[in-house]
């Protein structure tokens, strides 16, 4: 079973949610899922943009009580 790791980047400005995801992606295994928690509106756009450009998989993205949950899978 692939693991799902939570990357809690709520209420942080630097390095920020996407940079946290990139750092965590390096430590993940192919097939693992990562769920980024972000209070930065920009994450809903910039994380999918990077995921698509690199070639990982976007699983879902939704906002709940002011927090974006962006779930991705490491493909390579």
């Amino acid at each position: 079973m692939p693991e799902r790791k939570i990357v809690d980047a709520k209420n942080t400005f630097c390095p920020g949610p996407l940079m946290e995801l990139i750092a965590n992606m390096k430590q993940a295994e192919v097939g693992d899922e990562l769920e980024v928690l972000s209070t930065d509106e920009g994450s809903a756009n910039d994380i999918p943009e990077w995921i698509n450009k690199v070639g990982h998989e976007m699983l879902e993205s939704f906002q709940d009580e002011g927090v974006w949950h962006i779930v991705v899978r490491k493909i390579k």
Binding site: T12, F13, P15, G16, M19, Q27, D46, W50, V54
Partner: protein
């Protein structure tokens, strides 16, 4: 209460001195003790390496004897920890000794991990150790022009370093009179030129004004003798590659299984290791999603010193760390600015000024007062 501090960098040193002052009476009466274990008898001012890399500081200016920075009531040993036994409140050190504790603070910092990117260590210049910074300066002195690429790994120590080294390289090339023969190309891992949006909004037009080209969403995958290839599929040829490499926590943390990449899962406010009430973590060693910077370690150390002192005197912690970070930003042309923020308030950097540059230059000397807990 036996307090053991592992690591004699900025965080550990400020914490130890702050605690020693708060617990002066308890240390005298034996109610408390503070022991620091460090890997070196020397303390290095790490931000100075950036200046060494461009010939603005000499390595000899970066060091003090660690013992000279510590309050006399602190027991200091050069004896790095090689094994943590958190279940039994003890550590083993390189000398073979076992140190027990009631409270432990882990402040072992981070290290570059250039070897994680194939070809990077062999083909790039960097400035995170004295040897690397000196090597980079020697390489710059030989450089007569061509394409210089700045490439950035994740995570890295000092979030301002990519911008600062870029602006300082411009100054360096101008002072040597070869700027017209240089094409400087800046790359950055996310979709703007800096992780802090207000800083990116300032830096990007500065790059345009100075003729620096840039590419965002660029994460190094592999480096050859003349090309850096990104995870995103682009390639950049270079004559000189300058990198801010990815970092990891210390090997002993990874080996103990205390945190992926050597970064220990840490509570944001109380700074305890997750699941442990008597294990605290500060500085680069945490896995907190905040800047790996000296100022982070400094402000965490102050908050934690207050809490540990309260644990000794009234039996409980009293303060939360609020995520405070303060970073100078050298902007080139003799100017600098700064970014200050915490968990709740974003940064609002001001226009760079000569005054802030000179304050930063002064801080390069005042650091030692800061490490002693006086500033």
């Amino acid at each position: 209460m036996k307090i053991l501090i592992v690591g004699g960098g900025m965080g550990g040193t400020i914490l130890a001195n702050n605690l020693a002052r708060r617990l002066r009476n308890e240390l005298k009466t034996g109610k408390a003790s503070i022991t620091m274990l460090s890997a070196s008898d020397k303390h290095m001012y790490q931000p100075g390496l950036l200046y060494v890399a461009v010939g603005k500081m000499n390595p000899s200016e970066l060091y003090r004897d660690q013992a000279s920075l510590l309050e006399p009531s602190i027991e200091f040993k050069v004896d790095p920890v090689v094994e943590f036994d958190l279940d039994n409140n003890s550590v083993k050190s390189q000398s073979g000794a076992t140190y027990s504790y009631d409270v432990i603070v882990i402040a072992t910092g981070s290290r570059t991990h250039a070897e994680g990117t194939p070809g990077l260590a062999e083909n790039a210049e960097m400035f995170y150790t004295e040897a690397d910074a000196v090597k980079m300066y020697r390489r710059l002195e030989e450089f007569e022009g061509g394409k210089v690429v700045v490439a950035v790994g994740v995570p890295h120590k000092c979030p301002m370093a990519p911008l600062e080294i870029t602006f300082m390289l411009i100054d360096y090339f101008k002072q040597r009179g070869i700027w017209d023969d240089v094409h400087l190309h800046y790359t950055y891992p996310i979709g703007r030129t800096h992780s802090l949006e207000p800083v990116a909004k300032w830096a990007t037009p500065e790059f345009d004004r100075m003729g620096v080209t840039y590419e965002t969403l660029f994460n190094m995958k592999e480096v050859t003798t003349d090309t850096v290839i990104s995870e995103e599929g682009s390639e950049e040829k270079f004559d000189l590659l300058v990198t801010v490499p990815a970092h990891k926590g210390m090997q002993v943390i990874e080996d103990a299984g205390m945190g992926a990449g050597g970064f220990i899962p840490t509570d944001r406010q109380r700074l305890n290791m997750e699941g442990r009430d008597n294990v605290f973590v500060i500085g680069d060693t945490t896995n907190l999603p905040i800047s790996k910077a000296g100022s982070t370690a400094h402000f965490e150390a102050e908050a934690l010193a207050e809490n540990i002192a309260s644990m000794v005197t009234i039996g409980t912690a009293t303060r939360d760390y609020d995520g405070k970070v303060f970073c100078f930003i050298e902007a080139g042309e003799g100017k600098a600015t700064y970014a200050m923020f915490n968990y709740q308030n974003p940064p609002d950097p001001k226009e760079p000024t000569a005054g802030i540059h000179w304050f930063k230059t002064a801080y390069n000397k005042m650091y030692w007062a800061s490490a002693r807990g006086l500033l």
